[in-house]
């Protein structure tokens, strides 16, 4: 499915629509270059899952975990480079069966991830417009 959005609010709404189909344990991969709207998309999904309060970039701490109607994990693997040097249990605290998990920059870990429910790619389309491709 391909969605064209015109604003950040549109991009959040697209995230919210995907969230309606998600169940605890699902993992969603969110791809796209810098500034493509990955965190914006995840914010919309998290809101739809009942998360209140700020949903901000998880880059600094690798991941954030929110309490909504279900637990929501939000990860950013951009800095991991190569998972080989990392603690194998690094992601276990986030990718739990009770949580819906969103992973930005998942490429380094993609082949090791289970329960991938959807793959979302965001692309710049000029200004605040984005093209969002969702493979669910």
């Amino acid at each position: 499915m391909v969605v064209a959005t015109r604003s950040a609010a549109d991009t959040e709404a697209a995230g919210a629509r995907l969230a309606a189909d998600l169940r605890p344990g699902d993992v969603v991969l969110v791809l796209g270059e810098m500034g493509a709207g990955k965190t914006t998309f995840v914010r919309g999904a998290a809101r739809a899952l009942g998360v209140e309060g700020p949903v901000t970039s998880p880059t600094f701490t690798l991941g954030r975990r929110y309490a909504g109607r279900v637990a929501v994990s939000h990860l950013d693997l951009h800095r991991l480079g190569d998972l080989a040097g990392e603690d194998p249990a690094l992601l276990d605290d986030y990718l739990t069966p009770d949580a819906v998990s969103f992973i930005e920059w998942p490429e380094v870990a993609e082949h090791e991830l289970d329960h991938v429910r959807a793959r979302v790619r965001l692309e710049h389309a000029g200004g605040d417009a984005r093209t969002i491709t969702i493979d669910a």
Partner: protein, 328 residues
């Protein structure tokens, strides 16, 4: 005296501070090993903390001309930060405190940035408005006492330092982006590109996502050669947009709260143009020395002066936490 340890990110820090807030030593060991990864790698940070912590603590005691006999309180950052990195500091602090039967104070890293302002020789007393801007955090707080703060606004997406690092990377600069961007920007025109500074966004929250995208579009329009030729102008304009957004929110917060005094902290507070821009905004502006703005353990000791320490052995189960509960 207070012995404090801070390992929330990639700097291994220890400090000795008196109960009166005088810094006897403040040792910061930057790992440097993350530069080639373009950012801090959590597992690498933890391993290096493990290698460095004991040496950094010894160094802090030696520079303070003190021994553990002089220490009556151990303080440590318990969060927020990288959990693996934090745990090294927490375990070290527990070990030192327990071996001596000393009390332990678990300190919030963000409270530490605020408390850096309480240190001698020029302690800045509440009430004041505090801007903390770093790679992991960006928020404005009302500080009315030594023990806590109230968040008035925080970033909706990226931290200011994170936006600077990502912008610097787009311009081909090495990590950490801040100092490299500042250096490059010094030779450029801050008015060359009109990047968004979120001036039309109401309230006291920050947003840097749109700025990041604007820089990306500008580099695309210019192409590889054009971008290279205009790097200094791009850097100066980008930095200007970050500084302006921070400064405008500070102005708005001062007007809305009626507070007349301003303090700043966090790694971004080491940025020259930001320090200059903010210095004229309030009746009194406290700009701590750079070593007290970036991550350090003296600020953790400062916060510990006003914290409630836990007596031995009550802290043995103390855990680290990744995310602040304060909404910042």
């Amino acid at each position: 005296m207070i012995l404090a340890i801070e390992t929330s990110c990639d700097d291994t820090c220890a400090a000795v501070v008196t109960r009166g807030g005088h810094i006897r030593s403040n040792v910061i060991s930057s790992q440097g090993v993350h530069d080639r990864y373009g950012g801090v790698v959590p597992e690498v940070a933890s391993r290096h903390h493990l290698e460095l912590t004991t040496r950094v603590v010894d160094d802090a005691l030696a520079r303070a001309e003190a021994t553990l006999d002089d220490v009556d309180l151990v303080a440590v950052t318990a969060g927020p930060g990288l959990v693996g990195a934090l745990l090294v500091g927490v375990a070290t602090a527990k070990g030192i405190a327990a071996s001596r039967g000393l009390p332990l104070a678990a300190v919030d890293h963000l409270q530490g940035h605020v408390a850096a302002n309480f240190l001698e020789p020029e302690p800045f007393e509440p009430p004041f408005l505090c801007l903390v801007a770093s790679g992991g955090h960006t928020f404005l707080a009302r500080v009315e006492d030594h023990e806590g703060f109230t968040v008035l606004g925080s970033t909706l997406d990226d931290a200011a330092g994170e936006a600077i690092d990502k912008g610097a990377r787009l311009l081909g600069l090495p990590f950490p982006g801040g100092p490299h961007l500042e250096k490059l920007a010094a030779g450029g025109d801050p008015a060359a590109f009109a990047f968004p500074d979120a001036r039309r966004v109401g309230g006291l929250d920050f947003s840097f996502a749109g700025l990041k995208t604007a820089l990306l579009y500008a580099t695309r329009d210019l192409g590889e050669h054009g971008t290279h030729a205009r790097r200094a102008d791009l850097a100066a304009s980008y930095q200007h947009a970050v500084v302006e957004q921070l400064a405008r929110r500070v102005e708005r917060a001062l007007a809305e709260t009626g507070l007349e005094r301003l303090a700043i902290g966090g790694g971004v507070a080491a940025n020259g143009p930001l320090r200059e821009r903010l210095s004229g905004l309030a009746r009194e502006v406290k700009v701590p020395p750079r070593a007290l703005c970036t991550d350090n353990a003296a600020m953790i000791a400062s916060a510990a002066r006003y914290a409630e320490p836990v007596a031995f052995p009550g802290y043995l189960g103390l855990d680290a936490y990744a995310t602040s509960a304060r909404g910042a």
